[in-house]
């Protein structure tokens, strides 16, 4: 696991109390793209909150990730419209192809996968978003093609 330096964030919150917990977590996620073990422990020490509590709070919110993001970050929409149009099967295919669960990153660090509640483009359901590029009307076959394309692009 790569060690991450969050001393700048700790310095910014010098003297802060436990109410600074979520802002600190957000800053770390903003900077590193995820909350590493080291950063959770560093925040815990700085705010004098047990690490279990920091982890408990962080896992309560969907916005926090605990694995370093891959080169390609895939978001699968599991909102109501996408669900009705079959996003569950799409997610299954992607998880199987990448051999990871939502919230995880592939061992080679290429792909990371996230489930989001609604991307806000229900007319295009089911929808996935890879590195900010939207793919509409995704079927399982199309999902496979999309993943292969991105893999080729990264390897090129």
């Amino acid at each position: 696991m790569s060690s991450v330096d969050i001393s700048n964030i700790v310095a910014k919150y010098s003297g802060a109390g436990r109410d600074a917990l979520i802002p600190m977590l957000q800053d770390v996620q903003q900077q590193d793209g995820y909350l590493s073990r080291d950063s959770i422990i560093a925040i815990s020490k700085h705010l004098n909150i047990p690490p279990s509590k920091v982890y408990g709070v962080a896992t309560f919110y969907n916005q926090f990730r605990f694995n370093a993001p891959g080169k390609v970050h895939i978001q699968v929409c599991r909102g109501t419209a996408c669900h009705v149009k079959g996003s569950s099967a799409v997610l299954d295919v992607i998880q199987r192809m990448l051999d990871i669960e939502a919230g995880e990153t592939t061992k080679d660090g290429v792909f990371s996968l996230e489930v989001v509640a609604c991307i806000g483009a229900c007319g295009l359901a089911p929808l996935i978003c890879c590195d900010g590029e939207f793919h509409a009307g995704v079927t399982t076959a199309k999902a496979e093609r999309i993943i292969k394309q991105y893999r080729k692009k990264v390897e090129a």
Partner: protein, 605 residues
Amino acid sequence: MGEGVDSGHTQRLTFTPTLSLEGRGGKEKDRPVVKLTINNRDVEAQEGQTILDVLKAEGVKVPTLCHVKNLVPTGACRMCVVELEGARGLVPACAYPINNGMKIQTHSARVIKARKTIIELLLSNHPDDCLYCVRNTNCELQTLAEQHGVRDRRYTGVKNNHHVDASSPSVVRDPAKCILCGRCVRVCEEIQNVACIDFIGRGADTVIGTTFNEGLNTSTCINCGQCVVACPTGALHEQSHIKEVVAALDDPGKVVVCQHAPSISVTLAEEFGMKPGVDVDGIMTAALRRMGFDRVFDTSFSADLTIMEEGSELVHRLTKGGKIPMMTSCSPGWIKYVEQFYPEFRENVSSCKSPQQMLGAVIKSYFAENQKINPKEIYSVSIMPCTAKKFEAERPEMARNGIPDVDAVLTTRELAQLIRLRGVDMMALDPEGPDTPFGTRSTAGKIFGASGGVMEAALRSAYFLITGEELSDLNVKAVRGFDGIKEAKVDIKGTTVGVAVASGLENAKTIMEQLRNGRDDLHFIEIMTCPGGCICGGGQPHTHNPEAARNRMKALYKLDRDEKLRTSHSNAGIQRLYKEFLGEPLGHKSHELLHTHYVDRTDVN
């Protein structure tokens, strides 16, 4: 959840949690009187009480699940809801303060329907494997389902499916059986100041777990087992050693030796339906022999031995120099707590092993030599009120030449289970005495089982060691009782010795922080991990009787009052052990067998 359950009225009340077992509000006699109506009956109570407090005093039983006496109420489980006239929905009695003119119905059709629905919903994702569960017949969820007449499966949810965490030597977590009441989380944080576990995730995916949801063995868990005592279901239980003990009992090549801790004889009775506080020492000894234990020793003997070593160590530190204040080392949860959170105080902790480990060590040395038994053939079982003792027995320092001092540790609950398993009828046995050479004990060793007992025993002997005389009054009442922190100044022939006793690590923390901030009037500090001491340990019977702890403590002090041998240094068995084997306290053999060292564990999460 359920119908119309109100959650909006819980935040008005702020409690200062106290560890005293006194009922909340019990002492505040001058508080204004509040008049209210419960089930159409006029009732008077005191301002500041909750509805639940009043109901208890009035003899009305409402079921609770998440409620823990003296901890901040969370109102999470909604089992205790009652109908309050004028309120939008049902209100949780545990977290709702009383007011003048309240009209409350505790068992109306609407309330009972809501409670039953809550139970049915809790059962909807529960594994339902009661027959195979460690808490079968002793489970609060099962009892509530029975009491509310749950007979149909009205909701069928996806069953919980989580990995069992058996990584810890002391405590096993089975999150599938967890109903998320949060009692363990609050006890771990508010009573023990460890906060090893918390809620992870949210909604239907919520589980209780450690930092990064990893094994308890790599966490800050101090193995005290207070979470096990707090758990209403089978989600938490001790790491059982029954199988290993049974195998040893059935092995003709093993000499199976057991020791039982001072508090066991006053708590075991509860497992067999007797009143709390009944001392079954002799009957238990008889039962242990019937089950096949070759020797039955008393850990109170090695508690006396601990006093000789620890008392001498204290006198040495006071007169010849050494880290002051000295702290006791009997409670293995406390030891791990120091190693994790106050490593700079490790040298303040007495180097004495705990009574369990001391007896384990002399069983496999002195006893083995004496009886001409190869230590490898001895299987040493200790019966403890404690889950952390399992961890302690596995510490690598607690073995010599690869042979552990203690092979297996049974909790009081496991002993009861073993007695039932081996078909011994406790009611039919006549009391028997323990075996030599580790059977005699003073009552000073016996009161180790209560918070303050080690201090009192140590003061009796330290006074003798320093002055050559006995204390004129052996009773040191200032250190007795259930108060979380007890302090006293003791005059030993013109020298004032400051002593403090704390039980429950939140209280220990208070003292440790004072020391960190420069407090210097203390010389000797006794810390017990569990509130009230070993009589309330994590391995003790699950009880719903609030009087149980008090009666257990009374039973120990009654023995101390009634018996003649009340000081460790007058124990003839101890004197003989020193004469024949150990030499003198703090001597060469003692250091080899009875003393240990501590490690820095600040790297755990």
